[in-house]
């Protein structure tokens, strides 16, 4: 969805020219210019290999690059890899690298860097790459300076989806090899191959990126400078946009209600694109270890009791879509052939009564990510109390939430997880019993365990063809939608608000994380 809303003050002619920009790609990009972007909260560091926080990715995705990029349909595109080949048995991936790529310090980028990054650096420090490389990869070798070969232990369909910049950023071997990665002083001065370089980071104020003059893709980037501004309060961020201090409000940086208001301002565009790879899926996790929550009827009762439409339309200002099951409709292998739940308090009461619920208080752990989540907790508490379930909301700060969620100290817990382009990477982790482990809020924290589901997910990950994978995933979606290990609430949309004269801002499936390579300013 690409909303282009023009204000009354805009002249007709200008309005016409904006509509003409529907095909902005056709227009010749202009060189130069500075863009001010909001980043919230301030990233802890910009060394993307060591840290993959949301804000880190937004900034560092322009400093670092990976072998592949992904378009909005999540099809792989060349980036540092010029081309790639998959052997007929689907076990050998050969990547040809771009020529003439240089690190920001002038050293050449070669196959050695790729092997170091994937085989050593990320295997050691990256929590998403580590399980993949350990379980699926036989070996990673350099063929020549511009060719790398990855041999798998067995076919692994999602392999081609793993080379996104936050999941596998290329790290300079000459700086990190043989050092203590996390203590390397270079972590403060990130060196990548990307279109922008870090010029200055004034903590608490801004991060200043400047154009990489030696960028391998000739003619790119178009912009000279990007300032990432740090403004802690959401209301103040909205005012900062209105007064012209910033040009781009990244997803989630303003209150949902401000999205509608700001979108109506002159020269303001809004898009929810650029999150296809992540497809954030929001839900409530019942802790199935805790008494009545282990009862399927009770969980189904909760699902009928929650007015999910209200959550979407009122709490989230109409953004997003109601999910039907564990896989987002934006992710591959989605199926809507599942049992469905509507808002039906009467049915909810029936199921809850039949489940043997005796009025025990259910603790609802609020996700401390701002006002909208609090409103959501409040409205769901009200929904549940309407059908006779006692609810106590627990509030805490981010560390408190992380600890409680990781250590299973909750009855119902809000969470939203990225799907990462393939159910094997972003979906299975929340439902399989081998991922029931304390210490990680994104594991299977509810404790749901079902051997049938475990097997379906395991088989689907390594099934040789997409057709076979689809069959298995369709089956697992059906089972899960009946059992409700979690209560899916919303396929979230994160709107990016920006001045319409910033063009080509969101062009890939990872949105503003890597979009400034192609962006330009009119």
């Amino acid at each position: 969805m690409m909303a282009r809303v023009t204000g009354l003050r805009l002249s007709l002619a200008l309005a016409a020219s904006i509509f003409a920009l529907g095909a902005a790609v056709a227009q010749e990009p202009k060189k130069g210019g500075t863009v001010h972007v909001v980043v919230q909260p301030e990233p802890p560091m910009l060394m993307q290999g060591l840290n993959q926080n949301g804000p880190t990715n937004m900034v560092a995705g322009n400093i670092y690059e990976s072998l592949l990029r992904y378009n909005e349909k999540l099809e792989p595109q060349p980036s540092l890899a010029k081309s790639w080949e998959i052997s007929p048995d689907a076990k050998v991936y050969t990547f040809k690298l771009q020529e003439g790529v240089k690190w920001h310090d002038g050293k050449p980028f070669t196959a050695d860097d790729v092997v170091f990054t994937l085989d050593k650096f990320l295997r050691d420090v990256h929590p998403r790459w580590r399980p993949i490389v350990n379980a699926q990869v036989e070996k990673i070798e350099k063929v020549d300076d511009l060719t790398v070969k990855i041999t798998l232990k067995q076919p692994f369909g999602p392999m081609v989806m793993t080379q996104e910049v936050a999941s596998a950023p290329m790290i300079p071997k000459h700086i990190y090899d043989g050092t203590d990665y996390r203590a390397n002083p270079a972590n403060n001065t990130p060196i990548g191959t990307g279109p922008f370089k870090l010029k200055e980071w004034k903590k608490g104020s801004y991060i200043h990126l400047v154009k990489n003059e030696d960028y391998w893709l000739k003619g790119k980037p178009n912009l000279d400078e990007i300032y990432w501004q740090i403004i802690p309060d959401a209301a103040a961020r909205a005012v900062a946009y209105e007064t012209g201090k910033v040009d781009v409000l990244t997803g989630g940086s303003v209150d949902v209600y401000d999205v509608a208001r700001l979108s109506k301002l002159p020269n303001t565009c809004m898009t929810t694109k650029g999150w296809e790879m992540f497809a954030p899926h929001a839900w409530l996790t019942p802790n199935v270890r805790n008494g009545i929550l282990g009862n399927k009827q009770f969980r189904q009762g909760l699902m009928y009791a929650i007015d999910r439409e209200f959550g979407k339309d009122v709490v989230w200002g109409g953004l997003g879509k109601l999910p039907t099951g564990p896989i987002s409709s934006k992710t591959k292998f989605y199926s809507d052939d599942v049992p469905k739940y509507t808002y039906d308090p009467a049915k909810a009461k029936e199921l809850i009564k039949a489940s043997g619920y005796k009025g025990e208080t259910i603790r609802l752990l609020n996700l401390p990510y701002g006002e909208t989540w609090s409103r959501w907790s409040e409205s769901i508490k009200q929904n549940l109390e309407d059908v006779g379930v006692k609810v106590q909301i627990e509030n805490t700060d981010v560390p408190g939430w992380t600890q409680k969620a990781s250590n299973w100290d909750f009855d119902l817990n809000f969470n939203f997880l990225y799907q990462l382009g393939d159910p094997a990477m972003g979906v299975a982790r929340s439902y399989i019993s081998s991922n029931i482990a304390k210490g990680n809020p994104f594991a299977n924290v509810g404790g749901y365990s079902n051997p049938e589901v475990d097997k379906l997910f395991a088989d689907a990950a390594i099934a040789p063809t997409d057709k076979e994978r689809q069959e298995l995933y369709t089956k697992v979606q059906k089972v899960l939608a009946d059992e409700l290990p979690v209560l899916w609430l919303l396929e979230m949309d994160f709107p990016t608000i920006y001045r319409c004269n910033v063009k080509n801002l969101v062009t890939t499936g990872v949105g503003v994380n890597d979009g400034f390579r192609d962006a330009w300013k009119e």
Partner: protein, 325 residues
């Protein structure tokens, strides 16, 4: 007791208080749920046991608790405030980078509120019972009674958005690269809203205090004597009343000057002012222990410092005061 002895005594006491505060802070903060490794991992949306272990070792959290306390205290004895692994910087650097902004903001707010507050309070007392007194007292009360963050947001909407007079957030125009005088003016322009907002509350406080203090002194015997001797009214107010009434206000101000440093969290949040109040809050919600402890320590040290200075000024200004209290 001479001045040097007095000063030495106060310094020793101050250091002891600070030491106790350092220990208490450590225990307090470590009682909070959550740890920095888990927070970092949680924010990244992915974690496994190995990552958490690596991070904990980095943060020094794999050491026994008492060892951690000992390392921390040992560092402080040598003015080493530790290292923030989250931000990959020594804590002292992080604080020093932020301190000037806070000092500028709170200093400006403090001066404005002290000057305006005492002047208004004095005026109100002089006109006690008249309409100008009512206006000042009412205004002072109104500012005192309105939530600070609400005033801050309203002022952004009115003065920055609607009237376009001043920038709504930030410390300076980012990307403008001003230097010298232009930069100073730019910063001053950004300073207006936050400093006034923060200052309003204290202006109200000082005005009320000054007024009360003036009225109390006005009833004292030496003032009556002066009047009886035929000293002119304005002179009595100026030389006898105001001069004596300002003492308790200064005491309060001295106490508050130190508190201001840590007390600007809200203002810094709403105005995106890159000071240590915000640094502290961020460190808290990230459990960046070393930074949090560092900020607490520095702001406590400033309170101690300001208290000593206030006492010193008192002692010099008025030798009768026994500075033991």
């Amino acid at each position: 007791m001479n001045l040097a002895q007095f000063l030495a005594g106060r310094l020793v006491k101050g250091v002891l208080v600070l030491f106790a505060i350092a220990v208490l802070n450590f225990l307090l903060i470590r009682a909070a749920p959550g740890d920095p490794a888990q927070v970092l991992a949680g924010e990244a949306g992915a974690a496994d046991a190995q990552l958490l272990e690596q991070l904990r070792a980095r943060f020094g959290l794999d050491q026994p608790f008492l060892t951690q306390l000992w390392i921390y205290l040992k560092g402080y004895l040598t003015f080493d405030l530790g290292f923030s692994y989250r931000q990959q910087q020594p804590v002292l650097n992080l604080i020093m980078e932020r301190l000037p902004a806070t000092l500028l903001l709170t200093g400006a707010a403090f001066l404005v509120s002290l000057v305006v507050g005492t002047a208004m309070g004095a005026l109100a007392a002089r006109r006690a019972g008249k309409w100008s007194d009512s206006i000042i007292t009412t205004l002072a009360l109104a500012f005192y009674a309105t939530p600070l963050f609400w005033i801050a947001l309203m002022s952004q909407i009115v003065f920055a958005l609607k009237l376009g007079l001043v920038p709504n957030v930030g410390y300076e125009t980012i990307g403008a690269n001003y230097t010298g005088l232009a930069r100073a003016l730019d910063i001053a322009h950004h300073l207006i809203l936050p400093a006034l907002t923060l200052g309003l509350f204290f202006t109200a406080l000082y005005a009320r205090m000054m007024r009360a203090s003036m009225l109390e002194v006005a009833g004292a015997d030496f003032v009556k004597t002066a009047r009886a001797k035929g000293v002119s009214q304005p002179r009595v107010w100026r030389r006898h009343v105001a001069r004596n009434a300002i003492l308790p206000v200064v005491t309060l101000a001295g106490l508050q000057a130190g508190q201001l440093v840590g007390g600007a969290v809200l203002t810094e949040t709403v105005f995106a002012w890159p000071g240590i109040g915000r640094l502290m809050f961020d460190a808290l919600v990230q459990r960046d222990y070393s930074v949090l402890l560092g900020v607490f320590f520095i702001s406590s040290a400033m309170v101690v410092g300001f208290n000593i200075i206030t006492d010193l000024v008192y002692r010099i200004a008025d030798p009768r005061i026994e500075a033991s209290a």
